[in-house]
């Protein structure tokens, strides 16, 4: 539904899955190989309709599983195509071994993953355990707060993935149902602007380039250079921080919506800070702004980029803060170590001499709602920690029935 128009941005009210499908239509990838899974289904259904209606030139491969989806995506990307797919939860888990192959072969595949809990018990609702489980697969991971960001991240992902200093696959994360199935007011860029922004993909190596034939996926040999190739991947991940920022700035110039590694509220004067990612950031922001109005010296950071982990930048942003609460929508089951974001941040702060006190809140597993009341509870506890200088319980479960 079109609400209003200007030259570049068109304001619409659409669900998150449609926002992703629109981005895919505008990118017009050479190949999409995908398998439907709740709550990602609407993305590939809508996109398949676009293919059937001739709105894109994409070669759409309907496969029989996510394992095949990623396998086909890898083959097509190695052949030199610009490739996308999309998945969720168990589907991402079924892609497991291929995720490492995509990043190991340095194939710039772009994949929205609609965050959903992993079984058991079977649960179709949002948490981040699917993509957090894939955090060490060598994929870049960009989190989205709403449909707008999911759309913007998808378009930027293409440029980040294909950058010659990076050449890594990118996962775009959006919260299942909360973002994927709720209607959001957002702005779409016009097709020409997106096409110009993503440009044409010119692979350095491709299986279909007969004038410079190459072999992809060969045995590493008995001499073994696997170690060297993994070090290259780590270097590419390090390079990606600069590229993500540059692409975010450039995207801002065309859309009016610049992107960085994370964004913040009230960091200048805040004494303590809440960190969140995904849709929870909206709830946290709303409550943090209320609390700031009532005089509480609180701030927030919304983490957009989880892989690479922007450790240096976060450490700099948190310099001088008394206490930090990290919200994690998944657990690591590492026995009182907390969620993945907490573990990473705690590690990043190790060398800092005057580090803030840290507290972790695991919340929202299996789609458990994060209400403003819960954020308020965490904020007040955080204020207490900052005041007393003591963390009574490092890992807490917010919204758990206990």
């Amino acid at each position: 539904m079109v609400v209003s128009n200007n030259e570049i941005n068109k304001t619409v009210a659409i669900v998150g899955t449609d926002a992703i499908a629109e981005a895919m239509r505008q990118i017009d990838p050479d190949v999409v190989a995908a398998y439907p899974i709740t709550p990602q289904t609407a993305i590939v259904e809508t996109f398949a309709q676009m293919v059937a209606d001739g709105q894109v030139n994409t070669n759409y491969v309907p496969v029989e599983s996510e394992h095949s989806a990623m396998s086909a995506a890898i083959g097509a990307a190695a052949a030199g195509a610009r490739v996308m797919t999309a998945t969720s939860s168990q589907g991402l888990a079924l892609m497991w071994e291929l995720l490492y192959i995509a990043s190991g072969l340095r194939l710039p595949i772009v994949m929205p993953n609609v965050n959903r809990a992993l079984s058991a018990p079977i649960n179709i609702h949002c948490d981040h355990s699917d993509s957090m489980g894939a955090r060490d697969t060598g994929w870049i991971q960009l989190f989205s707060e709403n449909a707008q960001e999911a759309y913007d991240n998808t378009i930027q992902a293409m440029r980040i993935a294909e950058h010659s200093d990076v050449l890594l696959p990118v996962m775009i994360l959006l919260d299942g149902f909360i973002i994927s199935h709720a209607i959001d007011r957002m702005e779409l860029l016009d097709d020409a602007t997106v096409r110009k922004f993503v440009g044409t993909y010119k692979p350095e190596d491709s299986l279909l380039n007969a004038s410079q034939p190459v072999t992809y996926g060969a045995f590493d040999g008995l001499y073994g250079y696997y170690f060297e190739f993994k070090r290259q991947q780590e270097e590419a991940m390090r390079n990606s921080i600069k590229v993500i920022r540059e692409v975010g700035q450039e995207y801002g110039a065309i859309s009016g919506r610049p992107y960085d590694l994370f964004e913040s509220v009230g960091l200048d004067d805040a004494e303590f800070v809440i960190i969140a990612l995904g849709s929870a950031a909206g709830t946290v922001r709303s409550e943090v702004e209320c609390l700031r109005e009532s005089g509480m010296p609180i701030g927030m950071i919304k983490l957009r980029v989880f892989r690479p982990f922007p450790a240096q930048e976060l450490v700099a942003a948190l310099a001088g803060k008394k206490a930090v609460a990290v919200l994690d929508r998944s657990d690591t089951f590492a026995a009182n170590m907390g969620g993945p974001v907490f573990i990473e941040l705690r590690s990043a702060l190790y060398e800092v001499e005057k580090k803030p006190l840290l507290v972790n809140y695991v919340y929202g597993l299996g789609g458990r709602d994060l209400s403003v009341e819960l954020v308020n509870k965490a904020a007040n506890e955080l204020a207490g920690i900052a005041q007393s200088g003591q963390v009574k319980q490092r890992v807490n479960y917010l919204g758990l029935r206990e």
């Binding site: 190991g104 050449l167 992809y216 001499y223 250079y225 190739f229 290259q232």
Partner: protein, 112 residues
């Protein structure tokens, strides 16, 4: 594109082609795998009827033929699986212990 890998064991991690891509396809023949062999096929040309079954069935293309005739067994790549000896209808190929065969070779050459 020719690919000089003579010094590859000393390459810095940055020098390897990204994604372990091989820019010199067909270069697998530089990687001699015959060293894996523990049994060696010995071809008796006298008994051979040149049916070429072994040439067709060799999984490693290690049996060479020219003008419809077996010419040689390429021990740089033969892994000693014994399929050729098993399938030969004339028992013209026999499998011998590789270590023994090597010892014999060396004594014939007057080697160490």
């Amino acid at each position: 594109m020719s690919w000089d890998i003579t010094d590859i064991k000393n390459w810095d991690w940055r020098k390897h082609p990204r994604g372990a891509v091989i820019r010199d396809p067909g270069s697998a023949k530089q990687f001699k795998t015959g060293g894996w062999r523990s049994a060696r096929p010995i071809w008796d040309e006298e008994k051979c009827s040149q049916c070429l079954l072994c040439f067709v069935l060799c999984p490693d293309s290690a049996i060479k033929a020219r003008d419809e005739k077996i010419t040689t067994f390429d021990y740089d790549f033969c892994k000693g699986c014994g399929i050729c000896a098993y399938e030969c209808p004339r028992d013209a190929i026999s499998m011998v212990d590789e270590a023994e065969a090597r010892k014999k070779e060396e004594s014939e050459e007057g080697g160490p």
